[in-house]
Each structure stands twice: as structure tokens, then as C-alpha cells.
Amino acid sequence: MQGKNQTALCLCPTQNGYTDWVDLNEIANYASEKLQIKTIWFSNDLPLLNAEIIAEKIKQSNAVQIILAGDKPGFFKPLFSRAMRVVGLDPKNVKLVSFSEYGAVNRYHTGLAKALVACAFYNVPFDVAAKQPAKNVNPETLVIGGGIAGIQASLEIADGNQKVYLVERTGTIGGHMAMFDKTFPTLDCAACILTPKMVEIGQHPNIDLMTYCEVIDVSGEPGDYTVKIRQKARRVNLATCIGCGICSEKCPPNVPSEFDTGTGLRKSIYIPFPQAVPNKYLIDADSCTYVKNGKCGVCVKVCPVKDCINLDEKDHEVELKVGNIVVATGFQTFDAKKIERYGYGIYDNVVTSLEFERLVNAAGPTGGNITIRTTDKKGNKIFKGDSEVPKSYAIIHCIGSRDENHHKYCSRVCCMYSLKLAHLVKEKLPDAEVYEYYIDMRAFGKGYEEFYNRINSEGIHIIRGRTAKVLDKKGKLIVRSEDIEADKLIEQEVDMVILAVGLEPREDAKHIAEILGLSSDNEGWFKEYNYANDPVGTYNGGITIAGVCQGPKDIPDTVAQASAAAARVLQSIILGNVGAGLNTISPDVIIEKAKKLSTL
């Protein structure tokens, strides 16, 4: 085996210009003093362009093994492998220690980075050294977020005969998926496949569904967490409400419906949508005349059930004890108003994809008729089923995504849902003209490319070229884009523009991360334990993440991830294993263990 004298360490500083990064000098000191590595290089000091010179340096140092450590040192590996080859050594002896792989991304993680270097030096896999002993795990689990990820994770765990508390912020579970009309690429309706799962959640004996609730505090340790939850005042008794809807009929205020993304109106006492689970009413305090002025109370008068509506109900707190927490808080869509050039919020008929999703949905405000936006008597900008029908549509991809000025990442779903929306328009209005403007067509999943080819053959104009602006010309919208493949600039006149808005972390994602002690990446998505190896674990033992809160993904990938999170929870309950939990284990302990296990 290679001894300490035969190991050379090459430290690679961050290329991203972070000032607050891991302290490499401290690591160098540690390596030379504690690990007694004699040869330590910094990649900046090496003439990196030349394998021959590096080979010479390796020869001089007598090293037979090289550890490349730092910020994504893999980028240097091929060069070192080649240099090893030149020296006549085995290129397999170039080891990589990528700090970010295990979440060492700032100077507070210098200790962790040391442990990573030590593990490579002692030739012990980090996960083995960082493994924590088994302990008693509370078998009850908290799932935060009632979208498809939360639903799936809850069902999996509950089907494994374990108790689940599913906490949802709004009045119903279902999340974004419930708002969609059809799902790509099979075009089955979202409601058809989602509602049975929602019903199952509502009926499952092992699931305690807590809607209209928010997690406000988490304390304790992996396997034994205490969670404080605020139950917001629903003002309608869940147990006795029969969902007859008389209250809603008589309720005076009309306010934009969140579920319909403001495309339609709802009352102050309402069910978010007809298939909501629980299918019970709730009162929106912000618009309720009684809550605001103390006058009204019509709903109480007309309600056929005694004492079902209590307009004076207050928020209260609940405390739970759980062993594992699954975080499935989801996403919000990019605010298209941030890019003024596209005219969202300026021109009525520039709509976001989510609004359009409600517009084509048979259960939406227009009953599935695509119409132009109108202003009602009270000034609400809404859609009505009997308004004029737009004849031509432009769908613009990558709104807020793949853009250095907004989100650098790709939102992964927009290409496909845009194709789907184009298809839905064509299906409803065969004579309509639909124009799609894209940069790269990302149809990568099972059946996606086939779907793309099919849409392409349906007479939809699919144009390579990102639209730069939307202008108004006498009531028509002009979409200005370059048609790259036809080599010309086009100013397309359309009636309606659909902006394929990207996904972004929820506004309160930071807050949730703080409560749970999770790490986030630069964009605000929760950081997984290991990119490839453990996409659902986190650095906090007992806390797993699932769905889009970890990064944009489509429904099948979300569902798979949610099930994977459930596997982790079940495993932890069965075995008392709470994961590596880097936030709860000291680097020194890891180093000691690595030393002990070392094969040196």
C-alpha cells in the first residue's frame, strides 16, 4: 500500500470566485502536519497546461499516489492521469476529493473538508467513516407539503404500516399537479390520475392529514424531532361540514381564486376546487367581510349544520413528535412581470402557462373554453367562458430559465408542457395557429421525443429562436423573434401569448431551510446529500427531501424521488438508522474512525 511519503496532495482552489470558501491553507497545514504528506501543490501554481511538466514533478516527489482535493478537482483529473501515465504509474492512483460532493462549500466546512482529505488518505470511503451508530427512531413521520411528492411519500410510508402526519399549507392537498389539465406525454388528465391518490390520502388509516397548517419550528435530533405546527383558523369545522356549498352561494365577496391562479373568482368561504381533499369549506380571513368589519355572518345563518362555522376561531399550535421528516415543499413559478419585455401584466392577453393550464381545464373558470382576458365590473381581470376566442397563439419557452439575468438553470419541464399546451389548443381549436419559440428542445424522458415528433406533425409552427419582446399593435400582439433555421427575423401577429414560466424555489424556501437546518444551493433549491448516490438524503439525519424542492423535475421523476424518500424513512424506522447526518457528527470523529479503519 502507498505510504504517506508516496502520496502527493494537490489542492484545487475554487474557480467560482467565492471569497468565503474552504480555507485551503489550513488544509495544507493539516495535511503536512497531521497526515505528514510531504508533497503538497496548489493547482494554481502548477503549469496546468503541460502533462510532461507535471510528470516531472511527480517523479521528483517520488509519489505513487496523488490526491486531488478541492473545488471540483475532477476537471484536473484527466491531466494528472495522463501525467501518471507519462511517469509510468497507474492512472488509477489519482484520487479525487471533491469538497462540494459532501457539502463542504464555505469556510465553516473546513473541518469537514479535512475529514474528506483524511478519508482519501487513509483509503476509507467517507460514507463508511461518517456512518453513525443505530439508535431508536420514533416510527412516526412528518411529511411537509401535500403536492404529488408529499402525497406519494405519505402513501408509501403509510402502506408500510407506519404513521404519517401530512402537513399542507393550503386548504387542500394536490399541489400544482391538481391545477394541470393534461399531463405530458400520455395526455391523461391530471385530475384522473391524481384525485384517486388524494382520496386515498384522505381515507388512509395511517395518515393524519393536516391541511391549512404550517410548520413553525423543529427541534430535537435525528430520530427524535419535536415539531411545532400552526393550525391556521379554518373557521369551518372539518368534522361536521357536509360540503353542501350553501354558505358559498350566499357569501358576498368575490376574490381571485388562488387555485385558478387568478383567472377566475371564488368566494370568501370556499373549497379550492371541486375534488379537494378534504372536501370541506374554509374561510379566507383576508377577504371575509365578517373578519374584516365584524359584520355579515351570512354563512353561519345559512349553514344547515349547527355550530359548523365559527367565524371567531383563532390559529392555534400543535406539537408533534416524529422520527423522520420528508420535505416536499415544491416550487413556485417564475414571476413573468420581472421581464417587462414580454408584456405580462401590461397586455391582457399575455398569460403564463399556469394560467393557461386553468384556461384549458374543463374544471377551470371558463369550463375549458380558451378565451381572452376581460375586466369585470369590479375591475377584476378574469376569463369568462363566453368571451372572444383567440385564433392565434405564441408559446414562448424558457421564461426566467436558462438566463444569466434570472435563473441560470433549466426548469426541465417547460419544453414538454409547452408542446402539450400547443396540442391542447390544436385539439380544441383545429383552425388555430400555434407558434412555439424555443432555444433547445429538451424532450428527454420516456416517450417525450415521440411526443415532440407527434406535435411537430400536427401543424404547429415550432421555431428555433427565443422571443425577445412582445409588442402591442392596435390590439394585436406582435411577437418578435429570430427564426434561426429559416434565417430571418419574424414579427408574428397573434391574439394570445403564453409564457412558459420556469420553476423557482418557493419564497419561503429559505425560511423552511432555516427551520429544518437544511443547506440550499446557490439558486435556493435544497441540497441533497450526494448528487448521484443519494439524491434524497440531506446533511441532517432523519430529514429527506423529495420533489421539486430539490430541483426542477417532472411528475414521474418526482414520484420516483418521493418513493425513494419513503424507502429511506422505512429503512430508518426498521433499522434505527438515521443517515450520515454530517450536521450532527464532528469531523474529528470521522477522522478518528478513518484512521482506525485505515488499511495503511
Binding site: 382520496v199 372536501n279 424532450a443 428527454f444 426498521i574
Partner: protein, 574 residues
């Protein structure tokens, strides 16, 4: 026999059905049919209130049969069966008429569609009259799991299950586990080490007390049913194993590019596949066949993918692998010219778009081609070209016909289903789609289960995917397995065949046609006997039986014959 009291429910499915079928008329008309007590239509039958409607009616009207006319039974039969159970009715007293996939979505004439819907409902009503109560059988779940395939997906699933203390049998065809990931030098988009990632896992699997690994082995045929499978592992010594669940992780086969004439693979020396390049990186030596260092290197994306002549689907990982290679080449051969010849860059994963952006800062030339209609052509360079090969292509972003110099061409080959995919599908009883990837139970909501209970598919055998997505799927399947093991027993279908011993004449025709050797001959009684555990309910025996002694439960002659009657009778009424 008790009085038949049928409730019929016609679903609008929003506008999905209601747009093409006059659901109100359907419900009005069928209410007149004999046996029907009540018929209703509702916007979403599958929703909570929809199901409640059925439950309330069963109680109120004392219904003993229910017909729901909605979408495909493949989607919602179980949903409604559960509703029946909740109402205290046997779940088999139910039949579905598919008026969405088979009517409203495929027809254009509203009157005809409505007529057809009525006949289908009438058929279902006639059939349900003959339904009988069946009790689901509880079976115990064997806590062991068989995993077929020892790649990253199989290994991850194995560890996830074994770490929960449950027995795993891992069968691998090759002489070592690790699959294609073990052959990777670096992974995208962070350039982490592939070996460091998988080696500890391999070690753990090989030394895990709860995992028994069979190398150089194959599974012949899996017998039994969920919870109680058994199979023979074929290796040097055969071994019988018993297990409760199967996870299929057979993985992929790289596309063979020698069939694409334009690419000259195998004909010119320095045209290699991405796998061959990967090996060069592992060996620290990227050279041409003559041992010299290539100056111009072209990476051609989408080889065999996104082209209806080869595979229409996208292989999902090649774009990012190609970017990874561009980075590796830039590092190993800083002076080289690198060309990425692509169709669309599909950098959709977490951190991938950023990886693409960074790669373009590394002096890599991106050239776009049409992967369906206009493949680049590789030819040998002439003297004075200063390179070995010339790639002729029509570049789409400039609209120019160009030449690209190359000394080495790397073909980013796509993924195909494994060559044993078909065999394994037969062995475990799952279906494949046209391109030999396995079909999941539901493409969105159940991506790892299959239509065969207890059999799961994970990783690239389901469709091409990258490492995190494969690992996620593997863990997802593990969740399912752990959950069933944890509950320790489950309900199985009882739609098997039964022999009416009074009628059976002992001719043994059924024994010959049964594919599962589920029928044996009782010499003493001179009758055939069905082993209900082995029987999978295909019904072949029933149709072969000359005396009509064998009944296929839930698909009996009476049921189907009266369904035919129903279908046709309605036809004449209108």
C-alpha cells in the same frame, strides 16, 4: 338467487367524455334496462364526492351490483372496487364500461359515440348481473427479494433493502457487479469520481451479510406470485431460491453504430464510441490508433438516438456525457481543437445547464446538425488537409455547409434495452414497449411497479436515464418492497380457474394447454385439479375444456356471453 339491483354511474370526466358523449342521455336510457335500480351522471366519478355518491347509493338503494361508465378499467377499476368495499359490498360486484379511451377520445360523431357508449354500458350491465362475490386471498410475503442485474440500480436497491435487514439475492450475468457506472472515470456535471462513488457500494454489497450475490448467473423462469416466488439461479451450480418480490434492473446495451453508413465506424481507424473514449480516460491515455495524440477531436451527439431509422427516443444522457468528455479532453489535451456536433443540448438536470455554460467557456466549438434528416458524413482527408478525417455537415445555426477537421471522432452512442430484456420479461412476466424497454404500471404515478404484482423495474431497463435518476428509481422500488415486507402479507387476485368436478370427464386437455403447470390430474377422482397459487388466470384452459367444467372466475362464459348480448341488444333498441 337474490334480486339483482344495479346502480349505474356515468362519468363526465370534466369535458373529456361529456364533450363527445351525451352522458345524460346515456344515464337516462340505461336506467330503463332490467335490473337497473338507479342511473346517474357526475362530473368526476373518481373524485372523493363521486365515490361518495356510489357509497351513499349502495346503502340507500340497497344496490348489490355497480357499473361505472368512465375511463379505462386499467386506470380506475381498483379505485371503484375500493369504494364498493367501503360500502360493504364485495368488490367483484363491479364492472366498468370504458367510454373514454374507447369512445369519447377516438370518435368524432357525437350521436354515434353516444350510441356506442350506451351499448357498452348495456354490455357491462348484462355482465355484472352474473358477477359473484369473490374473496381476496391473503398471502404471506416472503421477506427475501430477488434483484436481477448488478449495475448501479440493482446495487442501490439491494443495499437499500439489505440495510433494512432484509435478505436480498442479487443475480448478475457478468463476472463482477458494478455495471456501466463502474467503467466511468468521472460523472457529470460535477466531475465527481465514478469509481469512488460505486466502489464502496460494490464492496458493501459483496460483503453484506444480507445479500447473496450470484455472479455469472441467470434466472431461468420465475414461478409463483407476489410474496411467494421461486426460481432457479443458473450458474455453475444451480440453486433454488424463494423470494417475495423481484426487482428487475437489467440495464442497457450501448447502440452499435456500425449500421450508420455516414459514420464509417469500424472502417476508419480513429472513429470510436463514447465507451472506448471512457476507457482511454481511465487509462490516462487519449491517443489515436497509431499512438499519436489527436489534434482535432469531434464528438457527435445523438448517435442512434432521436432518429426514426434507429431509435426515435432520446437517450437522455449523451448530451451531458459529451460535455463531460469535452471537459476531460480540454484537461488532458489542452492544445486540441474540440468540436461538439449536436442536435439540441439537453442539459436539464440539476447543475447541468451551468455545466453547459462553463463548458462553452473552454474553447469548445458547438456545431448543430439535423439528427433526423441530415447526418454528418465522415470521410478520409486528402493530402494537404492537415488532418486525418473531414466531417462534412450542414450546420443549422449558420445555415452553411461546412467541413470540420478531425483526427479522432467520438460517437456518443445511445442506450438500448439490454439484449436479455426479452428473456427476462418472459421469465418474470412483465411487458415491453416497442423498443424493448419495460412498461411501468403507470408512466407518471407508478414508474417503478409493473402490471405484475411484486415485480418492479428500475434504472435503464425502463428507459434511458442518468445515475441520480436510476438511483432514485432503485430506492423507490426498495420503498415498495420494504413496505410490503413490513406489512408481511397482502391480498392477491382470485380470478383463477376452478374445476367443477361433477362435470370434468378427466380428458386432461386443460393440463396440456396450461402454461404454468398449474393443473394436475387427480387419478383417484379422474378429474383435473387447479393449483390456485400457480394459476395466473389466463383462461386458456376454460376455452379448451370440452365439457365446460373449468370456469375462469370473473371471466366466466355466462359473464362474457351476456356481455355480448348486452352489447347487441341495445343496438336494436335504438
Amino acid at each position: 338467487m337474490e334480486e339483482v339491483r344495479i346502480g349505474v354511474y356515468v362519468c363526465w370526466c370534466g369535458s373529456n367524455i361529456a364533450k363527445m358523449v351525451d352522458v345524460e342521455e346515456v344515464s337516462r336510457e340505461v336506467e330503463k334496462l332490467p335490473g337497473v335500480v338507479i342511473a346517474k351522471d357526475y362530473k368526476y366519478m373518481c373524485s372523493d364526492p363521486g365515490q361518495d355518491l356510489i357509497i351513499q347509493d349502495i346503502k340507500k338503494h340497497n344496490l348489490n351490483r355497480v357499473v361505472v361508465s368512465a375511463c379505462s378499467p386499467r386506470i380506475h377499476e381498483l379505485t371503484f372496487r375500493k369504494a364498493l368495499e367501503n360500502a360493504g359490498l364485495n368488490q367483484y360486484m363491479f364492472e366498468m364500461a370504458n367510454i373514454r379511451e374507447h369512445v369519447s377520445w377516438v370518435h368524432t360523431d357525437r350521436a354515434e359515440a353516444t350510441k356506442k357508449a350506451k351499448t357498452l354500458v348495456a354490455g357491462a350491465i348484462n355482465r355484472v348481473k352474473w358477477h359473484e362475490s369473490l374473496d381476496k386471498r391473503h398471502v404471506d410475503i416472503d421477506p427475501a427479494t430477488l434483484i436481477i442485474g448488478g449495475g448501479i440500480s440493482g446495487i442501490s436497491a439491494a443495499l437499500e433493502i439489505a440495510n433494512a435487514g432484509k435478505q436480498v439475492y442479487l443475480v448478475e450475468k457478468a463476472d463482477k457487479i458494478g455495471g456501466y457506472v463502474a467503467k466511468l472515470d468521472l460523472t457529470f456535471p460535477h466531475m465527481y469520481s465514478g469509481k469512488d462513488m460505486i466502489q464502496p457500494k460494490i464492496d458493501k454489497v459483496m460483503n453484506h451479510e444480507k445479500i447473496e450475490v450470484f455472479l455469472n448467473s441467470m434466472i431461468d423462469e420465475v414461478f409463483g406470485y407476489v410474496g411467494n416466488f421461486e426460481a432457479t439461479v443458473k450458474a455453475k451450480d444451480e440453486k433454488e431460491i424463494k423470494f417475495g418480490n423481484v426487482i428487475v434492473a437489467t440495464g442497457l446495451k450501448p447502440f452499435d453504430p456500425s449500421g450508420i453508413d455516414n459514420y464509417q465506424y469500424g472502417k476508419l481507424p480513429d472513429i470510436i464510441t463514447s465507451l472506448e473514449l471512457e476507457e482511454m480516460f481511465i487509462n490516462g491515455q487519449v491517443t489515436k490508433k497509431d499512438g499519436t495524440i489527436p489534434k482535432n477531436i469531434a464528438l457527435i451527439h445523438c448517435v442512434g438516438s432521436r432518429n426514426t431509422n434507429y431509435h426515435e427516443y432520446c437517450s437522455r444522457t449523451c448530451c451531458m456525457s459529451a460535455l463531460k468528455y469535452a471537459n476531460q479532453l480540454r484537461s488532458a489535451l489542452p492544445e486540441s481543437n474540440i468540436f461538439n456536433i449536436y442536435a439540441d443540448i439537453r442539459a436539464f438536470g440539476k447543475g447541468c445547464e451551468e455545466f453547459y455554460t462553463n463548458t462553452s467557456k473552454k474553447n469548445v466549438m458547438f456545431l448543430m446538425y439535423d439528427q433526423q434528416n441530415d447526418l454528418p458524413k465522415i470521410k478520409k482527408a486528402g493530402t494537404g488537409d492537415n488532418c486525418d478525417m473531414i466531417i462534412e455537415m450542414n450546420e443549422k445555426l449558420s445555415g452553411e455547409a461546412i467541413e470540420v477537421p478531425a483526427d479522432m471522432v467520438v460517437l456518443m452512442v445511445g442506450m438500448k434495452a439490454h439484449e436479455n430484456a426479452k428473456e427476462i420479461a418472459h421469465a418474470v412476466g412483465i411487458s415491453m414497449c416497442g423498443n424493448e424497454f419495460y412498461i411501468e404500471r403507470h408512466p407518471k404515478l407508478d414508474p417503478v411497479a409493473t402490471t405484475t404484482d411484486g415485480v418492479y423495474i428500475v434504472g435503464t431497463c425502463q428507459s434511458p436515464k442518468d445515475i441520480p435518476d436510476s438511483v432514485t428509481q432503485a430506492n423507490a422500488a426498495a420503498a415498495r418492497v420494504l413496505a410490503t415486507i413490513n406489512v408481511a402479507h397482502m391480498e392477491v387476485e382470485v380470478t383463477t380457474a376452478v374445476v367443477n368436478e361433477d362435470v370434468c370427464c378427466g380428458c386432461q386437455t386443460c393440463i396440456n394447454v396450461c402454461p404454468y403447470t398449474a393443473i394436475s390430474y387427480d387419478e383417484e377422482k379422474n378429474v383435473s385439479v387447479v393449483n390456485e397459487i400457480l394459476c395466473k388466470g389466463c383462461g386458456t384452459c376454460g376455452s379448451a375444456c370440452p365439457t365446460g367444467a373449468i370456469r375462469s372466475r370473473h371471466f366466466t362464459d355466462e359473464q362474457i356471453l351476456s356481455q355480448i348480448e348486452g352489447l347487441m341488444s341495445m343496438q336494436l333498441q335504438i
